[in-house]
Symmetry: C2
């Protein structure tokens, strides 16, 4: 992971990202319902662990907003006598173990269970919920809740604090103004400068009297130690940990993959999983909270010129320095200012455009995206993820539940075969030529015989009485057990009408499978190298060996 | 549903099936833990309801063994004060309502969620469990349980009854012998003859003293009335009802579809769903239990020459007659004889061959089938169905999580393009030709850019420096929102390397979608009618209108 002369670039990138990470780590710990130092601890050694085992040189690891919201929900139901800090350590340990187990079982492909509509609907919902949850803090109200209904219900009773609101609103305005600054440096430094200025103002003047403040920290020495070992507690947190692990992995992978493509680098999903597992396990024994890759910090690492994962080690070094300087003044930091940094940071991620575009392109997917968002806001994160995954799979099955089969004919004078609906082609009465347009799997296998029989009837009406049905199998990449049974049923149904079933252009791996159980012989199905050859063939079909199939041969 | 002169055939088929249905309806009611008359009631008016609304002329509707086991499990946890009979009526009502709702929402495609390995694994497990559960009844033991471990645990304590065992074993032997009878008529009549003989023997001689008997029935008048309306009870049974509905629909559809194909008839899944919904709703107000199509009785209806759904009405008529004659002697029927008819009926459905064949064809699917069977035997039916569905979907996603993309070149002297790995083909350095071999959806979208970039690198190493990447999209039937985003990422990643993205042979429906959001224009992606044209094209690509695409045009 080193390259000679690259350490200077990594050092610079590390400094730039630390400037963003300091306020974010404090703020996201607060968002998760944890003391601010937990965010700082989660931004130290976990970064070093990822640097050792991960694969991306630009993953901005550490506390992230969406996970913080999930952590807050998970820790909301802890039994009496268990502190949120203890719960966060157990959660981090479980997230690490779940990711390690998934890496061992090579389950990284399951990340694709979260479709884009599910993921974006979820992120938008979480963003809105985070923003809504910060408004009371920003305005000095005691209202709190993990869903909009509970938040509104508790807001109805609480009052507002004018002085808190002034601090909060001031913070938001300054941060928004800084974004319009001509200097990119100023824009990046703004959150840190705001925090330092607020700490000084609050410590040296009475301006923050009566405003909630972070309060005295016990000490800023990393508390090494195993998380509390209590089976019932671990069992209670496990489902949340699994969701945090899934979400953390998918969102980290999304950003590191897209950056790797931009940078022309190769990313290994399995290594990413290992790196995240290690980071979370380290977080659990160093006083931290579950961590993942942040979108904003990853982009920043890339833009600031990070070359290798040493940049993350440098980030951790700068965080260490910052902790030494922050120990004292942090106690005076007004909470509405932290809330302002959260609010401004997350709202940039919200976009109505996603819904509009998904709706325009495919209504059902747009609806799913909206349903997931509403579920995050009004019900729970677990329910939203479940709806997202189940909904995506249901849409896929609904869309693919009828196999695409086209009746094809010969383009006059060529060896090409095209859909009879779209092209002027020739068909021979004695053979029905059909093209199977998709892999045959359980989601579409059930309808195969029906679709084929309907096309055979059409052929009989428009062309003439057939003797054979020849399936062009070139687009078929898999045939699973369900589809194999469907092919047997098709064979029987065709035989009942006195028709022979034949196949052409079967792909190598598919053919290997069929041969492994002697399928072609058992059902006496003829096989042709090319569809044209199959159409031209008379009674006696070739049954070439696999070796023949793989050779360049005839077309 | 009528055809002149067909009523004689339907009458005969009805008589033959009633002969099988009488013993089965009594036995499956017992298997479900219900009084025997419930099975008879479920074999009367529900059949008429299906005849009115269903679509298959050969669906052997009524109580079925697998559902009976599911009903027994569902009714095992009823609160005190609620009889099993009341529970069965609620369950039937809910099954009917779930099916009616699914029919309204056109969810019949969700039946394909149950892959063949899941379905067969489940049916085999249920068959073994039913057989295991009948052994104690057959042998006069008090042991009972819904899983093998609980059954064995309770069998360890109970004793055996020699006289019961003699009745049970005698029944099994006679039924097995009757299967070897030369006369098909005798083989079919055997279960009914056995029941009648056993009733007479038990009523007229002391041979059945000390053996459990069916006992006096209150009366055999159909008890019309609404099921008990109690929200908590309905809520408790709803999950089981959903599973019974899914299983009932899938197993009925499997047999009616396969018979329809054999008979050259058209089956409407939506009408099947409506018919089953009506049958279960009628069962719930006429003292019945959840019903579905039985495999053995459906085959028999077909073989006995049923022409229309009137045959089911005749079955119900014969069941009526039988009830009048059975009211008295049924009380004396020894339970071990009923258990013998269940045992012999279900064991014919078990097959080890299914596991062997699935394992030989695809290990993962064979393992899934075995896992589902073991789960039915040792855990629960709900868990087994969940494992079956989730496992099938997981295997599908695992298998399709990398998109199939092939680098293709021109077969010399033709306009054909084939995989460079398999054929001796020509490639032009300035354009990378790739064939996307499958629909692009969320399960495989994530890996698209990686796979394409790897093939571009290969082209660069082996052929030369490219300027364009031309994707042959002919095999792509859908592009979902996730895949659209993946294409955008691909476009960006290629642009970062100075390469243009181009598409050829995009299917009509896919193109409509892309145009609906102005995608091609926004990303300035060129489109070609044929891959060959795209490869030959220079800087200036055609952007034909949709009308041109649909015309036969050039190849």
């Amino acid at each position: 992971m080193t390259r000679p002369g690259s350490w200077r670039a990594d050092l610079m990138a590390g400094a730039v990202v630390a400037v963003l990470l300091i306020p974010q780590s404090l703020a996201y710990a607060m968002l998760a319902g944890l003391p601010p130092q937990v965010g700082l601890y989660a931004s130290l050694l976990p970064l070093v662990a990822y640097a050792a085992l991960g694969s991306s040189p630009v993953l901005g690891l550490g506390p992230v907003a969406v996970l913080a919201l999930m952590i807050a929900q998970a820790l909301g139901a802890l039994p009496a006598g268990v502190s949120a800090t203890e719960g966060a350590l157990i959660l981090a340990a479980e997230v690490g173990l779940v990711l390690a187990a998934a890496a061992l079982l090579r389950l990284d492909a399951l990340a694709s269970l979260l479709s884009v509509p599910a993921l974006r609907g979820f992120e938008n919902g979480a963003t809105l919920m985070i923003a809504a949850g910060q408004l009371p803090v920003l305005l000095g109200s005691a209202a709190a809740g993990f869903t909009l209904p509970s938040l509104l219900a508790s807001a109805a009773h609480g009052g507002w604090g004018a002085r808190s609101a002034a601090w909060g609103a001031g913070g938001v305005v300054l941060l928004l103004l800084s974004r319009r600054a001509r200097s990119a440096l100023l824009a990046r430094l703004a959150p840190l400068l705001l925090l330092v200025a607020a700490m000084l103002l609050s410590a040296l003047t009475p301006a923050a009297a009566g405003v909630a403040q972070v309060g005295a920290l016990p000490s800023l020495a990393v508390p090494f130690g195993l998380p509390r070992l209590e089976a019932a507690l671990w069992l209670q947190l496990l489902p949340s940990a699994a969701l945090v692990a899934l979400m953390g992995f998918v969102s980290s992978l999304a950003v590191s993959e897209s950056l790797a493509q931009r940078r022309g680098e190769k990313l290994l999903p399995a290594a990413e999983m290992r790196g995240l597992a290690a980071a979370n396990l380290v977080a659990s024994v160093t006083g931290g909270m579950p961590v993942a890759g942040s979108f904003s910090r990853s982009i920043l690492l890339h833009e600031a010129g990070s070359v290798s994962r040493w940049s993350l080690v440098f980030v951790a070094g700068f965080m260490c320095l910052a902790m030494l300087m922050l120990a004292e003044p942090l106690a005076h930091l007004p909470k509405p200012v932290l809330a302002a940094t959260i609010l401004v940071a997350v709202l940039g991620g919200f976009s109505l455009r996603h819904y509009r575009e998904a709706w325009a392109y495919a209504r059902a997917e747009g609806l799913l995206m909206a349903a997931v968002t509403v579920t995050v806001l009004c019900w729970s994160i677990a329910a939203a993820l479940a709806i997202g995954v189940v909904g995506s799979v249901a849409l896929l099955i609904q869309r693919t539940s009828r196999p695409h089969v086209a009746r094809i004919g010969r383009v006059p004078g060529t060896q090409h075969y095209r859909n009879v609906e779209r092209y002027a082609v020739e068909c021979r009465p004695e053979v029905v030529g059909l093209r199977i347009d998709e892999s045959l799997v359980f989601t579409n296998a059930r309808g195969l015989t029906d679709v084929v029989l309907a096309l055979v009837r059409e052929h009989r009406e428009r062309v003439g009485e057939p003797q054979r049905v020849l399936l062009l199998m070139a687009p078929v990449n898999h045939i699973d057990v369900s589809a194999l049974v469907a092919l047997q049923e098709l064979h029987a149904a065709l035989a009942a009408e006195g028709l022979r079933l034949e196949l052409s252009e079967v792909k190598g791996p598919v053919l290997d499978r069929l041969r492994s159980v002697g399928w072609l012989e058992r059902y006496d199905v003829s096989l042709y190298l090319s569809h044209h050859e199959g159409i031209q063939a008379g009674e006696h079909a070739l049954r070439p060996s696999l070796a023949d199939m793989d050779a360049p041969g005839q077309l």
